[in-house]
């Protein structure tokens, strides 16, 4: 079953966001969308305009707007951290926070024994993605980041995470789900 994946965040044990990737652009501001459509119809020049627009949009995720992304990462960390603590308090120390869902999205959470935290945002109807996160950890993170001799032990500012093998493998894996 295909699953719409929105984004992935990885936080290290110092609560810093060391990796984030989005597979969907954030919604374009509404006012610009409407005149665009009208323009298309009036010109009769629709296809060319549309492809130009699409290209523009496709390029967007590669250079994410810095502020929004960083803010989101902080908010997501705050959320999962609070929920994780709440779950431990109520369910006992062996309990683990798995996921939460709103009407717009679902956040899947996975925490490794080394306090590395993965947060994956998908469409709200998605089934449990815990195993997916686990696979990302053992087959991508461990393989391409941990075992990479060039990668530092601490990934300050995301250093060593954004290597080609990891990014390629991750993108391929996630696109395989969609």
């Amino acid at each position: 079953m295909p699953v719409q994946v929105y984004s992935l965040y990885i936080f290290d044990r110092h609560t810093e966001c060391i990796y984030s990737k989005q597979w969907f652009e954030t919604p374009a501001p509404a006012p610009s969308a409407l005149p665009h459509d009208q323009h298309q119809q009036a010109n009769g020049n629709g296809p060319a305009m549309a492809t130009a627009g699409e290209q523009q949009q496709q390029q967007q995720p590669n250079k994410p707007r810095r502020n929004k992304g960083a803010d989101d990462a902080k908010l997501i960390f705050g959320t999962v951290f609070s929920l994780r603590n709440m779950v431990r308090k109520l369910g006992g120390d062996d309990d683990a926070f798995i996921s939460f869902r709103t009407s717009q999205y679902k956040l899947h959470y996975y925490e490794t024994p080394t306090n590395l935290r993965f947060a994956l945002l998908t469409e709200p109807g998605a089934l449990s993605m815990r195993n997916v996160l686990h696979q990302i950890y053992i087959n991508l993170w461990v393989e391409y980041v941990v075992k990479n001799p060039l990668s530092p032990v601490e990934h300050k500012g995301g250093e060593g995470v954004r290597n080609e093998m990891f990014e390629l493998g991750l993108d391929k894996f996630i696109r395989g789900l969609m």
Binding site: E25, P27, L75
Partner: protein
């Protein structure tokens, strides 16, 4: 247990020396998901049946009601519950603001885009031992219902609890809005309803 079963597999893969090819692990990942899903559903968790607790939070984030049914959750002291209510209130507000996906804009027949649903905050949260369902009323009162992970029809139970609240709390002349709920009739009706639900399991 979970970890141990998966671990040898990855060792095996690296042993084959396939990791140099970026294609291979990714494909294997996808095929192994099915297998993993089976394991996770069989994961035996001791079940304490049914509905475990109810918490009501007013629109300012204050705790106005909390009650536990059965011993599925750790007992907290009142102060911890107050903190929990405040924390959840904040988390709920944040989850409302995070909106990663793009909303497909629905165009009706007249060509007028319809207004998308307002973003909702956290609705369901799952952990290994329990499940939390949150219902946010139009006036901002939040009902948090803690159940075990297998409880079905939580929506129905939530609806019924909201009914009971509307009847026995808001129609009570001695209840002041946004203040802690101390209504014997509400307690009584709630207890008997929860018992009914939990015994039906």
């Amino acid at each position: 247990m979970y970890y141990a079963q998966v671990r040898p597999q990855s060792v095996l893969e690296t042993g084959c020396g396939e990791t140099s090819d970026a294609h291979c692990p990714a494909q294997q990942l996808n095929s192994s998901i099915q297998l993993e899903a089976d394991i996770s559903t069989q994961n035996p968790v001791e079940q304490i049946l049914g509905i475990l607790a109810l918490i009501v939070i007013n629109k300012a984030g204050g705790l106005i009601y909390n009650r536990t049914f059965g011993d599925g959750l750790n007992q907290l002291n009142t102060n911890d519950y107050l903190v929990l209510a405040g924390t959840f209130h904040g988390v709920h507000a944040i989850t409302t603001r995070l909106n990663p996906g793009h909303q497909p804009q629905q165009i009706t027949a007249g060509g007028i885009p319809s207004r998308p649903d307002p973003p909702s905050g956290l609705e369901v949260m799952e952990s290994e031992n329990f499940r939390l369902q949150c219902f946010n009323t139009l006036t901002g009162t939040k009902f948090l219902l803690f159940t075990d992970t297998l409880q079905a029809n939580v929506d129905v139970a939530m609806r019924k609890i909201y009914d009971l609240y509307a009847d026995f709390v808001t129609k009570n002349p001695f209840y002041q809005l946004e203040m802690p709920i101390r209504c014997d009739t509400f307690d009584r009706k709630l207890n008997s309803y929860i018992r009914e639900v939990n015994n039906a399991r």
